[in-house]
């Protein structure tokens, strides 16, 4: 039982040019196997053209307790969102 294959997180980039997206996890003994298993498990229906596999234990995650400190300041920076700037209707291509 101590010998369980480590867990990996799988990220896949689809054909549409979007960024890699987390699709799930799997077990693999080594990096090559992680990529091959990801291909066999998560791209059975042509879902992607590029795969990342990351050891789950190597993922650094924010903790839910920090949510306010990490994300609420962004709520007050609405100028980062393009809709903050109303444009005159006559002006195109902005």
């Amino acid at each position: 039982m101590a010998n369980e294959w480590p867990l990996w997180e799988v990220f896949i980039r689809s054909q549409h040019g979007l960024a890699h997206k987390h699709v799930g996890s799997l077990h693999a003994a080594d990096p090559e196997m992680a990529i091959r298993n990801a291909r066999d498990v998560y791209t059975r229906r042509n879902e992607g053209v590029s795969i990342w596999a990351v050891r789950s234990s190597d993922v650094v995650a924010s903790s839910p307790g920090d949510k306010e400190a990490l994300f609420e300041p962004a709520n007050s920076k609405i100028y980062r969102h393009p809709t903050f700037f109303p444009m005159p209707e006559e002006v195109k291509h902005l």
């Binding site: 867990l7 003994a29 196997m33 059975r44 839910p64």
Partner: protein, 329 residues
């Protein structure tokens, strides 16, 4: 329904007054349809119930590969063989997604497998029935997958994020499973007299166990109230069962085969089919381990796992060797 009678470990649903501050905040999030994520605070009973439910669901996918796998080598055409292999492969994938969802709750897959093999964890009773003819492969796709999908679609909205996301993926992939089953039944019902008899025989054997898949009547479901409050069970057993009957009877009519239930009849006032009494004693016997295939199914899983131990160990040993060589270099 792949997870039946999941024990919530609680005797009654707590009222607001009995809850701690944390529990109240947790329930408020669920009531507001905010998903619970693995690192969020959750009541221990919620975590344990989910582990039981999701792992049972995963075990059902994996054990469920066996009755269908029984016919892979005997599929009657190359196309049917390929479709069946792809379908069973999907089930392996679904088991894997679900084990992964359960792993986010702090249990390893190895532990879940050990619990299945020791008999501590359950899987759906339906897979303890035998596949005796090719028509059974059609009946499983049509009835068993049909019943499972009915249960799984609402679970896409369940409160636990990883489980809900796994369900979304599974439902997307599973849309072809029920159709391939019905397609087999269609071919048989349009075939020779022997093939039609095969289809009828399969329906006779799979109909009642399919209805039992939804679990005992609501009145006897001890744990449903808590699971509903936690939104890890969305619709009740009887509700789902009725939907399933209403949906399936016309499909059987189209095939020209007869439901093995003399009491089955349309009730225009209720706008539902009425159906006969389910033999729950059979269900309880199967749960206790006395179904036709309980022993075979579990023994097959245990053997596959034990036979694979040296392979899994070798892969780890090789990975360790390579890692140490890289460090030296």
């Amino acid at each position: 329904m792949y997870a039946q009678m999941v024990d919530t470990g609680v005797r009654s649903v707590k009222g607001q007054a009995e809850m701690t501050t944390e529990e109240r905040a947790f329930q408020a999030r669920i009531d507001a349809d905010i998903r619970i994520e693995p690192k969020d605070w959750m009541p221990e009973a919620y975590r344990r119930t989910l582990i039981r439910q999701v792992s049972q669901h995963a075990h059902s996918e994996i054990v469920g590969m066996l009755p269908e796998g029984n016919w892979v080598t005997r599929a009657p055409s190359l196309k049917r063989k390929a479709i069946l292999m792809a379908k069973i492969q999907d089930e392996a994938g679904h088991g894997l997604y679900l084990y992964s969802a359960a792993e986010t709750l702090g249990i390893t897959r190895d532990q879940m497998v050990a619990d299945l093999h020791s008999g501590k964890a359950k899987y759906s009773s339906i897979f303890n029935y035998p596949t005796l003819s090719w028509a059974d492969i059609g009946a499983i796709g049509w009835l068993v997958d049909g019943a499972a999908i009915m249960n799984q679609i609402p679970l896409c909205r369940c409160s636990f994020g990883p489980y809900a996301r796994a369900m979304v993926r599974i439902c997307k992939e599973e849309s072809f499973h029920q159709r391939q089953g019905y397609d087999i039944m269609l071919s048989l019902s349009r075939g020779t007299a022997e093939q039609k008899a095969m289809a009828q025989d399969a329906l006779n054997r799979w109909w009642w166990p399919s209805l039992m898949m939804f679990g005992p009547p609501d009145a006897e479901s001890v744990h449903s109230a808590q699971s509903a409050a936690w939104k890890i069970k969305i619709l009740s057993n009887d509700e789902l069962r009725q939907r399933f009957v209403d949906q399936t009877v016309p499909q059987a009519d189209y095939l020209g085969i007869t439901m093995p239930d003399p009491d089955l009849q349309w009730n225009p006032e209720r706008n539902h089919y009425e159906f006969g009494a389910i033999d729950w004693s059979e269900f309880m016997e199967v749960l206790k381990g006395n179904g036709p295939c309980n022993r075979d199914r579990l023994a097959t899983r245990v053997k596959a796992w034990d036979d694979g131990a040296w392979v899994r160990d070798a892969a780890m040993a090789h990975a360790a060797k390579r890692a140490s060589r890289q460090q030296v270099a």
